[in-house]
Symmetry: C2
Subunit: 161 residues, 2 copies
DNA sequence: CGTATGTCAGACACACTGAAATAA
DNA sequence: CTTATTTCAGTGGGTCTGACATAC
């Protein structure tokens, strides 16, 4: 029953020294685990990351076309279609043709959608609390700051090679 | 020219407020970009993350069976096969039947393999330097420490639910 | 005309599962 | 008979590309 025991977990002592110094490995493992945590949290109510992204983008920046939504959330135009279908099916958003530009749809969040967003919000707040439990408030700020700076630096670097 | 511009990059201002507070999102974006950086670096010499993992595991812990290698690297047994095929084809490892247990193969790193590992090592050192450029040495240690603690905490949490 | 939008169909790399064959 | 090892074949979720019809 050796069970190839769940990859992407810290295999502690037996992991090669060199790998432990690789930033991409550390941040990759952390991201993988964090992703599972929030995936489970959202999955427990039948939701998905992308639902949260779209709903929060709509709630914060108001109605938008699908192309705008794609830009704001980082979800591909092509993949947005399915997400909006699901959200519309459950009445969380409205998809109506734009009278001013007949190519576009105007996506609007509904009351059910705002309610759902609140639900996901508390769910994710709990998940964040769970994941960051071992860190103090100051350390969490530190972590966000450091990650944010590295992230911004890489984004800038890959924007102009 | 809208160009659906490369996902998983910081879209700075237009990203919903709520998302910016999600740890999984931040660490996920960072991991994605870091992954691309090292992917490109290794790809530039026709290598792959897994090659580095296997070679470093062999160099540091000595010859091993494929099952042992899988445990040490986190690469699945099933996927290891292809990786070892590639490495063997280029003469970086030797795959020989274990005389003491005829189910097993004994994987050994060759001189060409050690040489290759050195090459990848410097490549990755450069990549790490590039990615972490905006951080001081103390900040890099901080970041590794914080990520390591969060990581260990999540690994422990998902080990005993 | 060239360009933007919504949509669909699929490629692709990746973690991961299942099962077969062999040997312990 | 049960378990471990190597191997292959395939699933599934996720990112991403390409193309198409329609409208600007």
């Amino acid at each position: 029953m050796d069970t190839q025991d769940d990859l992407q977990f810290d295999r502690g002592e037996q992991m090669p020294e060199r790998m432990r110094h690789q930033f991409s490995r550390l941040v990759g493992m952390t991201a993988a685990q964090a992703g599972r945590v929030v995936g489970r949290a959202l999955g427990s109510v039948g939701a998905h990351r992308r639902h949260f992204m779209v709903l929060s983008a709509l709630a914060e920046a108001g109605p938008a076309s699908q192309a705008q939504l794609a830009d704001r959330t980082g979800v591909f135009r092509s993949d947005l279609v399915a997400v909006l279908n699901e959200l519309a099916e459950d009445g969380r958003i409205m998809r109506a043709p734009d009278p001013g530009d007949k190519r576009r749809n105007v996506i609007t969040i509904t009351e059910a959608g705002t309610e759902r967003l609140g639900e996901l919000d508390t769910l994710l707040a709990q998940a964040n609390e769970d994941m960051l439990a071992p860190l103090s408030a100051a350390e969490r700020r530190q972590l966000f700051d450091l990650l944010g700076r590295v992230n911004a630096h890489m984004a800038a670097a890959s924007a102009k090679p």
